[in-house]
Symmetry: C2
Subunit: 303 residues, 2 copies
């Protein structure tokens, strides 16, 4: 009897999804921040779900109900942003312990709706059930023009690698509960640069660099000294490994990168951290002394 | 401090959703089996989520992993069927306890995909996280022609009230784990009869009759002796109260009802159980001796 802990999250997802069959209206199914669905010739939709569980993604004593609701919806908006889409509709399933107060349940909804309103998401329903542990699952639908969704698989040799914001320390700083999804930045990038690949950093930079590398089948070199380390992270190790940054990780063609670095407005905070150097999935870190080492995907493990 | 148990599920949902604001692309938000979304002039989409929690909706010892997966996806298909739609895409969030075996996780996915394949649903992704209790949330998208979605609010005075199948005893008979969502029946009704109102019976016939009555602001009279009682229910009381039947409850204009009762094929099992008699939300039961009594919505309570 093999337990889940033996195969890990990615191994499990691979096992579970390898037999899925989909029709031609599914442009992209499992394996990106959101699925890409063909609605009509003029319109593609994005679909993503994010489940937050008490004791795993937050602790009731360390997060207010408002923050829990905020985080749940913000994760969904972040997924749609990372595909280059515009979030439109969300349905929320909530599992509520009977010991919760009505005020706490209302606090969760205030957090959910605050993000929804700010980013133009219509909250249109969902499910409310009893549960032993507080559980929130946000299903979010976004919109994109046909062909415009940015996948993890589009990075090409020569592309420059970027991140928004500063990384690491999301738990001690509570950023993981209060973060602003980078929708505005993503939409700026879509209008002015069209990233070749993009995702949001949820499991940690190291782990998520590997996802780009594997989806695009390319080899990445990241400059350790270029990684923007948040004050709460303290060290580049934490910036690589902590996770739940919800910043954007993206790649740009070199000419586009050069132009954007000159012309971007100051509110688009982005840092070039490396280059796509070749074919075949690999991620290496160039240390300050010039030495290279393979970067292992040791970010957050779900099991 | 008011606990959730004091306000009940419906009271809670009313409180939580009263401040929601949505734009004109939301044809119907909270309050039906699925939300109705305007995608384009030619296409409306339906969005629904259903969360199942171990210990609340199923017990691990009494349900196989396959049945748990089956039930989760079948609930979603049932919601879309009850709106008169065609299910198209689903994303599934799963909270998995670390003690689960890989074989059990695979069993859940086999159940999910069995329903998906049978009813033409593309399973396109979702989220996989750790959880103390097994939790599955299915977000499902369905398709309908503009104006064709059947709401709970369309019942009119004079309409006849129908249900499919036989009701009650869904827990002892394990029907709640193995049921066939009534998509085929719903699609037959859409082609040949166009119900004025429709929903699936999840919280119990009594409770769900009240939902139609309240949404349509009409008064229903149900003939106790006409209610199709399943063998496992044993009594009409259980058929009214048990819940999780996942049969269709719908209303038809009287002329349509007469025609359909003559012409329907034998596989469309439907029973006329009553009539919409007037305005103002009410549900009454006509007993065998002709006496009437108010039917209280005493079906399944989530809190």
């Amino acid at each position: 009897m093999m337990r889940l802990s033996a195969v890990g999250e990615f191994g499990l997802i691979r096992r579970l999804t390898r037999s899925l069959r989909t029709d031609r209206d599914v442009v992209r199914g499992v394996g990106d921040d959101a699925a890409v669905l063909r609605v009509s010739r003029r319109c593609w939709w994005l679909l993503s779900t994010d489940m937050l569980v008490e004791g795993v993604h937050f602790r009731r004593r360390q997060a207010t109900p408002y923050q829990i609701g905020w985080k749940a919806m913000a994760c969904g908006v972040s997924d749609i942003a990372a595909m280059g889409g515009r979030p439109r509709f969300a349905a929320v399933s909530v599992g509520l312990p009977a010991r919760l107060t009505v005020a706490e349940a209302e606090g969760i909804y205030r957090g959910l709706t605050a993000v929804a309103r700010r980013f133009g998401v219509n909250l249109v329903g969902g499910d409310t059930v009893r549960a032993a542990r507080l559980t929130i699952d946000v299903a979010i639908i976004g919109e994109t023009k046909p062909g415009a969704a940015v996948l993890r698989s589009g990075a090409r040799v020569g592309d420059r690698i970027f991140v928004t914001g500063r990384l690491g320390g999301s738990y001690p700083s509570r950023k993981h509960l209060t973060f602003t999804p980078r929708l505005r930045e993503a939409q700026y990038l879509m209008r002015h640069a069209r990233p070749s690949a993009m995702m949001d950093i949820s499991d940690g930079l190291a782990s998520d660099l590997w996802r780009i590398a594997e989806a695009s089948r390319v080899s990445l070199v990241v400059d350790e000294e270029q990684i923007p380390v948040s004050r709460a992270a303290g060290s580049v190790w934490h910036a690589l490994m902590d996770g739940e940054d919800f910043e954007l990780l993206f790649t740009l063609r070199p000419a586009v990168a050069r132009r954007l670095c000159r012309t971007r407005p100051s509110w688009v905070r982005m840092t070039e951290i490396g280059t796509v150097v070749g074919r075949g999935a690999a991620v290496r870190l160039r240390r300050g002394d010039g030495r290279m080492r393979v970067l292992r995907p040791e970010g957050y493990r779900h099991f």
